[in-house]
Structure formats: C-alpha cells, structure tokens
C-alpha cells in the first residue's frame, strides 16, 4: 500500500491541481472502451505475419503455394509483392555522427523494408503475410508456408558484434557499428581521473527488457477506393507522427489522404510510437483486396517484434577525493540496437542515456561514449524511463561504490555533491542544462521519510530473523518535455517536436479542446479539460477533449518521454489565454465600455468597478457565434490554436530509497520498504500522477528483480511469452511511502515537468544498491540485474559473479 504525505497544491485556486476523478474510468470499468482489437468494420479480412524462425540467415526460397490453397485464404504476399514501397525510416540518428545505414530514398537513414526478402536478421523478422477470412484461417496458413534458410552465424551482444570476425548484419555497415557517439569533455575527464585521489570502476550490464504493455499491438487498414483515402486504426501513441512517416516516407501517398486513428490504447510505455511493418501492410493489403484488413498481434509476436529496451554493456569510472567530493565520471557503453535501427532507437541509446549520466551531481568533468551496434536481436527502442534509467543506474551504482571505497556514508556522499540551488540553470557539461530544482530539499526529505537513520538498528533486528537487510539510495534527473524543435534537430531528430492545441467555444458555451497528443492510459480527457477549464474559469464538465485522430485534432507529436502534460497542456493554456484576450476585446463592445475597463475573471467579463455590468461565458459564446455588432478587427466565433515549442526541455528529479531483506537460506530478495520523493513541478491532477508514480516504481523494480529478455546462442528469444518473461505481480509490490517537492519549470506557462515515467528511472539502482549493501560484508561489490534468488544464493555461498 502507499502512504502519501504532503498536501496537494492547486495552482490558481481553480480546478487545476485538484485530484478530480478520471472521466475515462467508467467506460474502461464497464469494458466499453474500444481498443484496436475490438474494431470490427464490415467485410474485414484478417492478416497474420510470418516471422523468421531463425535469427540470421539467407532466405533461399519461400513456397507459399500450399498456403494459398487453404480455406479462406485471400492473399499470401512476400517482399517481392512490395518492391515499390519505401523502407521504414529511422528519424533519430544521434546528432553529430555519420549515419551508417542504407539511405531511405528521401536521403534519410533507412530502417528496414516492409518485409525482409533476401536476409533475415532476428527471430520474428517479418518475411510473409497472409490475409484470410478469419484470424484462425490466417494463422493456419502461416504454418503452411515453407521457407528454406541458409543459416548465418549469429551475434546477440553489442560488444561481440563489434569484435573482429563477428558476423556482419548489413553490407552497408562494416563492423556492425551504427554510430560512435560522444558527449562531454574527454580530455578534461581523463585528466581528472588520472589525477584523482580515488577512482572506482564497474563493469555493468543493463539487461535487455521487454516493456510488455498488456495490450499487444494491432492495426486495421481501410482503403476507400471511391475517394482514394486510407484510414489506419492502430495502437499508436503518436497518430500524427505515424501519419507523416507513413504517407510521405513509406507509402508515397498524399499526406491528406491518410487518416490515422488511435482508439483506446492498452498501454505503451514507449513501444507504440514506432513505425512497424504491419502498419503499411494493412493499408496496402486493404487496397489490394478492396476490404478492411485487420491484424492483432499475439504475445509471442509482440515479444519477437515490438521494440525492446535498455541493453547496454558499460565500463564506468568515477573519480573523487578522499573526503567525498566527486571530480569526474566517465562511461564507455556498448549499446545493442538490435537488427535494424528502429524509428528513434539510436537516439534513445545515445543522447537520452549519455547526456544524463551525471545525475543530480555537480561534477567538474564528465564524458560518455556510446558504441551503438547491430546484432541479431529485436530492434531496440524506448522503454518507460528510457535512457535516463540506464544513466541513473550507472551513476548511482558508482556513487555507492565510491562511498564504500572511501568509507563514507552513501547519503553523505550524495548530499555533498548535489547541484546547489543557486547554480540553476545548471549546465551539466554533457549537453543538458537543468532548468530548476532544489535537490537538497528533495534529497533530505527522502532520507528523512525513509527512516534512514534507523537502518543500523533494523539491520540488527533483521539478522535475528535470518534476514539480511540492505538499504539503497538512488537520485536522478530526467530530461522531459521533448521539446524544443531546433534543439532536437541538433540531436539528430527529423521533424519538429512541438505540440499543438485547439480550443473551439460552441454557441452554447460548451468547449471542445483538441490536441495532437494521444493518451495510452493517462486520462488526458480529464486532465486537459482541467487545464482549459482552469484558464477559462469554467466548469470542466463543459469541456470535451478530443485527441488520437488526425481528422479531429491538429498536428502534434504524441505522447512519449512524459511530455504530454508539459507540452500539450501548456499549448491548451496558451490557447485559452488567446480566447480570453479576444473576449476582453469583444467584451468592450458588449459591455459598452473601453477595453481597459474590461476584466475577465471566473468565466465572465465585467466592467471594472461596476460588476453589475457583466456577461457570462455562455452569453459571450452565443454573442460571438452570432457576431452581431462586432467591429471589423474582431472576427466572429471563438476558435484558436497554439503550436507550443518550448525554449528548452524540463528536468524533473527525485530521490528514492529502497530497503530490501534477503533470505539467508533461499537468496530471495524482498523489497520491504520503498520511499520515493519526486519533483515534477506543478502537477495537473495528483490522483492521476499518483497512479503513474506507483506503476513506474513497480516497473523499475521489475527490471531490478526479475525482467530479462534473454537470447540463447542461436539468437532465439528464450523469454518469448509471459510464461518465460517475469512481470511484477500484485504480491511483488511493496509498501510505498511517497512524497513530492514542487519546483516549477520556467520553460512552460504551467510550470510543469514530466511526470508519467520518471519514477521508473531510479528503482533499479536503488534496489541493486540495497542488495549490495546487504551483501557487502561478504565482499560483494556488484551484482548484475535481474537480482534473482539463484544469483544471490550463490553469492551467499561465496561464489563469484
């Protein structure tokens, strides 16, 4: 269970900051929400995808004849049927590095073809599709396709893929190196390390994990031959992005002939923002067959095709003084991009990780280099807390290692090195400039709330019960609010990363808000209504929010990196201000007074000093709709749009403290207490954010204790379903003690920072620090994730890692 301390802090005395109930919940609770698998258009045919059964091979032949003759089969297609389709693009090649990949026809880095033809590069690599009358018939037909492979040598680790003699995945990429990327000051860092009183080093494996949204991905394509328009219904967190990428860069059809609709989406955590082959395939096959074509993935299919996360092998070094002052940090990382560069995977593995490695600390010299390599595994992408979690893990492990080396308390070392409040905005020397923060306040609150001072006594008490108690701290800074378009272009991102909102006030006084963002379970309909209602001073029940459909909403980039509340919500607030400003001008006409005497407050305009002379919001809405008596400089109606491109990112932060107990007999690790104090600036709806924090922490604990996408030597994914891939269950969630500090960001009008995924960033480090603390008297200095009972049991018996 969770204890939450601290009070909620409404910002303007209005509905923003209040824990309103989610208006999305009733339909979810009744099972009435429509997910992509629930869409049933008349005449729908069903698609199934054949993925490669081997990890690396030449395809010698594909025989589809038997499949074509099976009952219900409408079409069997292979790469040869799609030669005029452009490859899927990769739109985030790390800035400043040369792209080593076969180019897309438009001069972009390519990613992968819609179906693989000559060569397969991972198990699940799509090579053929079947469309049939029923899903069962389509699945049966897949089994009747025979593929002849000539096996090639397999490599699944990034460091091994870069070694001499490693199998080569792509002709155009010699040595399998997609990018060598660096940030920070190498010479200064090397010098600081060479001159340091103390240095500590660690070799870390940040294991590959699978996000595992409970809803697998799905897509429905519907081509209208009469109008030439395509509609794609897909489990996407960025319908506008998918529209742009698919129309302009893959299908080569006019932008305005493709509509993308995200119905209710069953979780994403980063994975559903990517372009996958199934999306163009359902559209192309719908056109070919003259019927809607639907595809819904299986769990094993998801495990073998939807982007996976983390996966770095790192050598990291920290330097400092004997009295606990950190002077340098350095990281060399081998990032495993999988078989193809996913839509934005290369950027996640480099910039999102590398620029974050110094965390909350004021460090004079820092340097990170990343070798991003191709291997015979599923493509790498984002995963809740992506990049930032990997960075926090390495830094927070290093700080503990350093504290142990100099015999200082880990909390005291951290306290000594926090970026001081007066140093903001703070340039971390790795490319990010932290916007605002009071790290000391946040850190002290977490330490106090966790009962850190009582830990020695608790350790003694636990030993009497046959348990080893350990405590681990992890602090973090997470870059969120992507973001400033120009800045992101320098990071190598193709396309703007602004966000838009439109507000339309109807003659009856009700309001429609449309945004380019798209919820994957974050109650946007509730929170965004709060934002508009708060600014306009009206009842949120009169505000309806639409998103997730390119026909209804203006452009936007979607939901990723915890950006919706600090990107879309400010766009809404700014749009509401335009509406208010127009109503003040019009109010002068309606009230018959000069504009400077008109006041807008609480959803009405009135004459300053004469509050009897007033017009309510509903009266104004109707009057603007009629447009009678308006001077030529005021257009009738109320319909405004804002495209919000912030001056810079925002940087939430926090400190988590994990307490674990290890069973001496079984090696089992139980998280017995967990304290988290996060700072996401001003929060729109604390009830909704609370749920996101709780879920995020458990996700992070999952990586620490049980999750692992494990490939065998042949490149088969051993953890190919939920019988073989462990996800945290209800009994795995410990007691949480949560609190927050509030440091508004100066980079948006709401003072908001990202919130949704930030609490996934530190838990893995906190738990591993706690486990190492519990085992430190045995000489254990590090233990790789996931911290399984067997691993711990072996260490308890003196075996080396």
């Amino acid at each position: 269970m969770t204890t939450v301390t601290g009070e909620t802090s409404p910002q303007g005395g209005g509905v923003l900051g209040q824990p309103l109930d989610s208006r999305e919940d009733p339909q979810l609770l009744r099972g009435e929400a429509t997910y992509v698998g629930d869409i049933d258009l008349p005449g729908t045919a069903h698609m199934a995808i054949l993925g490669s059964s081997v990890a690396h091979a030449k395809i010698l032949s594909i025989d589809t004849k038997a499949a074509e003759q099976l009952p219900g089969v409408l079409k069997v297609a292979t790469a040869a049927d799609f030669t005029d389709v452009m490859p899927l693009p990769c739109i985030w090649i790390p800035g400043g590095v040369e792209s080593h990949f076969p180019p897309h026809p438009y001069g972009l880095p390519g990613s992968r073809p819609v179906l693989s033809g000559d060569t397969v590069r991972h198990v699940g690599d799509p090579i053929a599709v079947v469309v049939a009358e029923t899903p069962r018939q389509a699945a049966a037909a897949l089994a009747a396709i025979s593929v002849e492979y000539e096996p090639l040598t397999v490599v699944t680790r990034a460091d091994e893929a870069l070694a001499e003699g490693a199998p080569q995945l792509h002709e155009a990429v010699p040595g399998n190196l997609n990018a060598y990327w660096t940030c920070g000051d190498k010479d200064r860092t090397d010098a600081a390390i060479a001159a340091a009183e103390v240095t500590v080093e660690l070799d870390l494996v940040n294991q590959r994990t699978i996000n595992s949204p409970i809803e697998p991905r799905g897509a429905v394509g519907d081509y209208n031959a009469a109008t030439g328009e395509y509609t794609l219904y897909a489990s996407t967190q960025g319908p506008h992005n998918h529209r742009f990428l698919l129309s302009a860069l893959v299908l080569g059809i006019p932008f305005n002939k493709l509509r993308v609709v995200a119905p209710t989406v069953g979780g994403s955590f980063g994975t559903k923002g990517y372009l996958y082959p199934d999306m163009p395939l359902v559209l192309l096959l719908s056109k070919a067959l003259g019927r809607p074509v639907k595809w819904v993935d299986t769990r094993t299919g998801l495990m073998n095709s939807t982007v996976q996360g983390r996966d770095h092998r790192q050598h990291v070094t920290l330097a400092g003084t004997r009295d606990g002052r950190i002077t340098a940090v350095r990281c060399t990382s081998y990032a495993n991009l999988g078989a193809y560069p996913s839509t934005i995977g290369p950027g996640v593995a480099t910039a999102l990780m590398g620029r974050s490695i110094s965390g909350m600390y004021d460090i004079d010299a820092a340097f990170c280099e990343v070798y991003a390599a191709f291997t015979n595994t599923v493509s790498l992408g984002a995963q809740r807390g992506s990049g930032r979690a990997e960075a926090a893990f390495l830094m927070e492990r290093l700080v503990d290692r350093y504290a142990s080396e100099i015999g200082m308390d880990p909390a005291a070392v951290r306290r000594k090195n926090l970026v001081p409040k007066e140093k903001f905005p703070y340039d971390n020397g790795l490319g990010w400039t932290y916007d605002s923060g009071d790290y000391q306040l946040n850190f002290d609150r977490a330490i106090e709330l966790s009962g850190y001072a009582d830990m020695p006594a608790r350790k003694t008490e636990a030993r009497a019960r046959g348990k080893r108690l350990g405590v681990g701290i992890a602090s973090y800074v997470a870059i969120c609010g992507v973001g400033p378009s120009t800045r992101m272009s320098k990071e190598g991102m193709l396309g703007g990363t602004w966000e838009s909102a439109n507000i339309r006030v109807h003659p009856t006084g009700e309001v429609t808000v449309t945004v380019g963002s798209a919820s994957t379970g974050q109650s946007h309909g509730t929170v965004f209504a709060q934002v508009a209602a708060d600014e306009l001073g009206i009842d949120p029940a009169t505000v309806q929010v639409y998103e997730g459909d390119t026909l209804k909403a203006p452009y936007g980039q979607g939901t990723y990196g915890s950006r919706s509340y600090s990107m879309a919500a400010p766009a809404i607030a700014l749009t509401a201000r335009k509406i208010k400003s127009k109503l003040v001008k019009a109010g002068a006409v309606f009230l018959g007074v000069p504009e400077e005497k008109v006041v807008y407050a609480d959803g009405q305009v009135f004459e300053e000093g004469n509050e009897e002379n007033t017009k309510t919001f509903a009266e104004l809405a109707m009057a603007m709709w009629y447009g009678w008596g308006l001077p030529p400089e005021i257009e009738p109606a109320l319909d405004e749009t804002t495209h919000f491109d912030p001056p810079d990112f925002n940087y939430p932060f926090g400190t988590h403290v994990a307490v674990v107990e290890i069973d001496e007999l079984t090696g089992e690790t139980e998280v017995v207490a967990y304290t988290a104090v996060d700072d996401a600036g001003n929060i729109g709806n604390p009830k909704i954010v609370l749920g996101q924090i709780e879920g995020s922490i458990l996700h992070g604990l999952g990586q620490a204790l049980m999750e692992h996408a494990e490939y065998d030597l042949d490149g088969q994914l051993v953890s190919r379903d939920l019988n073989h891939y462990a996800l945290p269950r209800a009994i795995d969630a410990p007691f949480f003690t949560l609190d927050k500090t509030v440091t508004p960001s100066p980079h948006n009008p709401l003072g908001a920072k990202g919130a949704g995924e930030i609490a996934t960033v530190p838990p893995a480090a906190a738990v591993v620090n706690a486990v190492v603390d519990a085992l430190s008297d045995l000489g254990v200095r590090h233990i790789d994730m996931p911290v399984t009972p067997e691993k711990v049991w072996r260490r308890l018996r003196g075996e080396a890692q």
Binding site: T2, Q27, L29, R30, G37, T134
Partner: protein, 174 residues
C-alpha cells in the same frame, strides 16, 4: 458441434469448432469485446469471466467444455452506460485503472472476492494481493486496485445486514 451457453442471462445457441476457445466465442462469435486477450498463455488475466459464478480464464477453456454453463462477462455486470457495480465504483474512486486493458478481467476476477465479503471478514491487503496474482497490470503497480478493493469491501460490509460474524470484525474496516 452445436452448443449452447447462457451468456449474461441470455440463452445462446451456435455451431462451434471443437478447438474453439471460450474467449473466441465471446469476442468473435458474440461480439462481447469487453473480455480481452493479452497473452495467449493464461498468464495475464485479461480474459477472466465468471463461469457458473466462479472466475475462470476464458482463453484456457474450450467453448465445448463450458457448454450448458452460465457465463457472465463484463458486459453482464452493468447495462451500457449504466450504474457501476460497487466494485467498479470503488475502483473509479481510487482510479484503479490507467489504460484499462486489464480492467475488465480484474473486475471479473475480483467480483468473487468482494461479493463474499458481506458475510465474512474483510480481506487483508496480502489476501487481496494474492487474489490479484492471476491478473497482470503494467500501468498502476496494483496499488490503486488494492485500494479500490478495500473500499469496495468496506462498502459491501456496510451495506450488508448486520450479522454476528461481521459485527465482530467491523473494527477492521476502514
């Protein structure tokens, strides 16, 4: 083969393949899409329905094996757009959802626990968590769901006619 089921109080007769799963009949055959498919291996619990009153995973049972039984799906818990059940209302108040994909399965799995609460002691938090182990949720971390069940159990016991057994346990409520 010709089979019959009573689904949400309505008799249904249909022809089914011997290897048809109950979840396929419900979703594809009867259009009751509130029941979800999340994992294909019985791990995630999004497909839980009640079969003759007991919660079962409908992806692990053949339609033929359920023949003649009474099935309750999420659609049978409320009328469209209608009033929420006690459990659903409690989950709403605690925001025990996020993306909602696991939610119908959880409502169906937890209903049995909450329904039984009126005339016995309220389940403890560990008991609720044990009950939830057959359902996976990636969004919430389960805390809000547990709070929702506690709230629902309290409400169910408050509404129940006073009995000696419940009166003795009432000190544990809240």
């Amino acid at each position: 083969m010709d089979l019959s089921l009573n689904v949400n109080g309505r008799p249904e007769q249909f022809a089914a393949q011997p290897n048809e799963l109950l979840v396929e009949r419900l979703r594809d055959g009867l259009g009751l899409t509130g029941t979800k498919v999340g994992c294909d291996t019985g791990q995630c619990g999004t497909c839980v329905v009640r079969l003759d009153g007991r919660s079962v995973k409908s992806c692990l049972i053949l339609t033929a094996a359920a023949a003649g039984s009474a099935v309750t799906t999420i659609e049978g818990v409320t009328t469209p757009g209608g009033e929420l059940s006690g459990l659903q209302e409690a989950l709403r108040q605690e925001h025990g959802t996020q993306c909602g994909f696991c939610t119908p399965g959880m409502v169906m799995a937890l209903g049995e626990l909450v329904d039984g609460t009126a005339d016995r002691e309220a389940p403890t938090e560990p008991e609720i968590r044990e009950w939830l182990t057959g359902n996976l949720c990636r969004c919430t971390g389960y805390h809000s769901v547990v709070r929702g069940v506690q709230r629902a159990c309290s409400a169910a016991r408050a509404d129940a006619p006073a009995q000696p057994a419940t009166a003795a346990a009432s000190g544990q409520e809240g």
